[in-house]
Amino acid sequence: MQAFSDLLERLILTASRNTKIELMVNYFRQTPNPARGWTLAVLTGELDIPGVKGGSIRRLIEDRVDPELFRMSYDYVGDLAETVSLMWPGTRGANRIPPIDDVIEALLGATRAEGERLVAGWLDMLEPPQRWALIKMVTGGLRIGVSARLAKVALAEMGGVEPAEIEEIWHGLAPPYESLFDWLDGNAEKPSPDIEAPFRPVMLAHPLVTKDKRDDPDAVDPAMIDPDIFAAEWKYDGIRVQAVSERGVRRMYTRTGDDISHTFPDVLAAMDFEAAIDGELLIRAPNGEVAPFNELQQRLNRKTVTKKQMEARPAMIRAYDILVEGDEDLRALPFSERRKRLEAFVEKSSSDRIDISPLVPVTNLEALEAARNEPPAPEIEGLMLKRWDSLYEAGRPTGPWYKWKRDPFLIDAVMMYAQRGHGRRSSFYSDFTFGVWRDGDDGDEITPVGKAYFGFTDEELKQLDKFVRENTIDRFGPVRSVKANKDKGLVLEVAFEGLQRSPRHKSGLAMRFPRINRIRWDKPSAEADRLETLEKMLPADPLLDKG
């Protein structure tokens, strides 16, 4: 438990992705089986300890301390696991810290009452950091800023393999993953789990970006594209999924191999085929069109889904590709062949939950560019270009596939608040809340519409930081409020991918993926955009078309 709680504590306090990976790699290298495997199960959310829940922990503490003192402490700390771990009346200088494998193995074999008794016994023995780790582990919901994907990236780094290799076998493995670690240590062959409906590593595309706007070193200039050898289709704004149905087993995976079948039983029920399909998971709006991404978001990351949610937001797959049909693996066929097979496949499907992503006719590059910027629906992010002769390869090979996103929306906003960053940026004000003008009770006022913390160079960050320090009018902890009125204020040109209505935000709007495109030192703050301009950019709300 000691090494496990140290790891959790470092992970929760580290903002940097690379440091998190380094911490996990170190831990996996230094910790033996099966302890590291159980830790991996905790990090990837694969561990479910039945019985002991938040309520049990609360009962345990209220039996041991004055409820009034508990209330005062909980009020101050604000987190149950943390409050209990700190005020548990344990014996100082614990006699023995049980290893994590003992703890988990005992809990998995325990009834609810036994589980509570075990947990209470360990809480007596442990110090606060380990108590916290134990409570987080048994009640679930770590919230330490590590996704299953990041844990797998760390595993890949530890073993010197590609993350895709781990994703491919992941679903055939179970905690405590001894065969996996033995392979990554170089002491055994790669495990080849025999599972039904396995995940196949996904093929990804490089971006196409006009030369002068390129900051991604892997991006390719559109001028390099030969329109004669590429097929084009729309890039939808949903989530990329792989739907696999083989020998009676149906699963749906994300592009990183997470199994999300349980969240989308409506789609699973419609997968009455023998195949592996690559496509976009979307929500169908009442008018039959694709609903905005926000609607899909409402259905993601849920453990269970209600009938009502499925009726209000029916999910569907728009198929891009076919990887396996029956017993035949199609990945080594060129895209032109696979496309024919996919068309025939969707044609004979009786399900209304699966349709095909239409091809966009390619005449020349100019026409493509025009199509990219004026897609037929706002839920389209741009174009996908795929070489007709491309095989379906794992990872992101250079050359066969490209994504060509439409230009972002742009707006001129005024900086309102700035917050210090983390890690390397901890001495810089680097997170900016910005707003636009609107009619207020006393004339024009600025209302916040978003927050951005990247898009600028290091040199620009220094200038922004200087501006914040010189124009601060108020402070709240790490946040500073800066001058923002008609006479004085810094205009930021903000780029974003899309706009949604959001009752949770003051302005009623939420931006997707906002970033600072340009700093408009030259532009007077009074000339920044108004809320009405943003409102005009909103897509028509398909959910309002019901009646």
């Binding site: 004055d66 003192l69 005062m72 101050y76 604000g78 943390e82 700190l86 390397r424």
Partner: protein, 357 residues
Amino acid sequence: MAGKTAHRDLYALTMIRPDLLLHPTPKGLYCPPGDFYIDPVRGAVDRAVVTHGHADHARAGHGAVLATPETLAIMEARYGEEFTTSRQPIEYGETIEINGVTVWMSPAGHVLGSAQVVVEWKGLRMVCTGDYKRRRDPTCRQFEPVPGTHVFISEATFGLPVFRHPDTDGEIRKLLDSVAMFPERTHLVGVYALGKAQRVIKLLREAGYHETLYIHGALEKLCQLYEDHGVALGPLETATLETSERGAHERFRGKIVLGPPSSFHDKWGRRFPDPLPCFASGWMSVRQRAKQSGVELPLIISDHADWDELTDTVREVDPKELWITHGREDALVRWAELKGRKARPLRLVGYEDKSAD
């Protein structure tokens, strides 16, 4: 034990209400018969008794200041020679009379020179702890409980049962382990300039770390003062860049730099390559608090008594009445009620919640 019983009886016989000897006022805790304030918080007073040198307890401009010689030296280092018109040094255990009130000092174990103020009048003994801690600190005298205390006026900075500071050596080990694990990063350790800085330095030396430690300019004078009082701190260097040469800051890689917590958020903090922010404070036991302030390595090292030290000390001193000041008073009052002790929150304002960076 006999002495203690005698005192208790005397308390019952004196009929002196403790309020007559010390009571809270807007300027701080006031002693009417002695006409002095203990750690006055607002404005200048004619006569102040000061428990220790932290700025919220020791302010400049009072007429006369009675304090330990170390505390007076600290006030001079911070405010200059003119911080008061009359300095009255008093050694631990030495007694003096002020208008018929006997005053003496007992070590508080908080920082160099820190003292509990003992005030006696007509058989009534009241002890004001100032800030204190019970665990070992190689840079100052250990706390000494005053037997026969009738009214114990305790600080309560960490007066909630969630504050239970772990073993200090373990926290120092955590820092050294991190330096070994990330040899390419600069460990920036936030410390208060008086007390915490010198204690952390001394503890690092005791743990076998003998490399040069780099310090912020704000720590220089006080480190020197500790050295002058016999606390050896080993090789220290100011974390300045002598040259504007490119790459000069590279020499901080793998090193430990100490400074006031706010300095690392300032432009000063930018000179350090790949910084790893640490903070040595009792507040760091609450993880969310550490996370919000951007601290990656919290070090739970406190110069205040934690909940167990506070309650154990009250049990040990066993006063007739417990008065509680600056900090989380309500929880300690609740605890006292549950234990059948008479307790009263003073609600003095003006002492800083040092939790802010």
